[in-house]
Symmetry: C2
Subunit: 219 residues, 2 copies
Amino acid sequence: MATKNSKGARIPEPTIERLPLYSRPLEELLKADIPVISSETLAKLCGVNPAQVRKDLAYFGEFGVRGVGYEVASLLKEIKKILGTDRKWKLCLVGLGNLGSALFENQNFKRRGYEFVAVFDSDPEKIGRILDNGIVVEHPDRIEATVARLNIEIGVITTPPLEAQRTAEILFAAGVRAVLNFAPIQLRKPECCVIENVDFTVSLENLAYHLAKLGKHSN
Amino acid sequence: MATKNSKGARIPEPTIERLPLYSRPLEELLKADIPVISSETLAKLCGVNPAQVRKDLAYFGEFGVRGVGYEVASLLKEIKKILGTDRKWKLCLVGLGNLGSALFENQNFKRRGYEFVAVFDSDPEKIGRILDNGIVVEHPDRIEATVARLNIEIGVITTPPLEAQRTAEILFAAGVRAVLNFAPIQLRKPECCVIENVDFTVSLENLAYHLAKLGKHSN
DNA sequence: GCCTGTGAATCCATTCACAGCT
DNA sequence: AGCTGTGAATGGATTCACAGGC
């Protein structure tokens, strides 16, 4: 997990997490035909410190020009290359409930190069159903075969919590090495694989905590 | 935003973010009638360091018994009290697209005490539609009135990115002080309010980065 | 003996401040 | 003159290690 840059320096995880943040405004600037941006302006757009922006970017190379700033188009291209967003990624979805369906139809995914190419669900009612792009809902038994056949690289888990761990294991066994998990449960994973958790209720509990505090002292 | 405990010590934000993590396994243990747990076991269940668990909990009081461990039931109750999960919170949803609908129907929310009591969408096709619990979809113009009438405390934004900022402003003006934002955009907010962002594509970009690295050096 | 609570030590990330380039 | 790239300084959070209590 300890990733390094060309000079062998370790790249902090928070840096990686900020790169997508930088790329969002850069896309807007590109559309608006603004050719160059300073670390200060970009920082303001993202709500971070200018030195932070410069340091983050400098881990990966010298993208800026002293006295001038960063060229928007080339910087965006570099960030995409770093993040691996300069190519397409194939996803499969496991669990076609409300959330799963919403994700499947979400246009943001495809827009950024993430494409669902297979969908699994254990509900007999759903198996065989034909979705957009002619994707046919399959039984989870078929994960191994389909992942191999289509070279699927990322699994998205939207099953009920109790099935999530087993699902993850099947995915990993099938050769998937990255999982985006929406089930509110801590998944166990092999060393070589990556899991990213998205738990809305955790975010809500954070909000609730801060709300309660806000209410207590001060207005 | 700098919250303090009874001794006046500042409580680190990461601590707050871990509390929900602890509560998940505790709920399981409670169901399984396991009365007591050590920091070491709980840490293992959550994938963190035992000292971390102890330090986090100690910010809020002396919940453990030396030589024994933590009583599951009372610890869970304490955590819920700290997070404000020991009571109900009223939410409103703005943006009834695929994602919005999925969230509205998501049972995890209600299970944890978060209840949608109003839904807004600007699509005339959707306005007036009657959802579960007799909730009627309203035009965003009605946010101010409805938030006031129902005492709504948390807003959930699932609008397209371009409408998100305006939506947030309307919500804040209406007296909502906490927002859960699913639009992939950085929202500006007043000092006194809290925003939590959920952006799936950021998580995916993280995964892609780590996948690319995994593939590069080593197997 | 065992496990919590906590000061001290370590580790890591952020920010500062300026040297270096255009 | 202006803005990047970066060593140095700061500020936090994590982990260690042990004192304190059951």
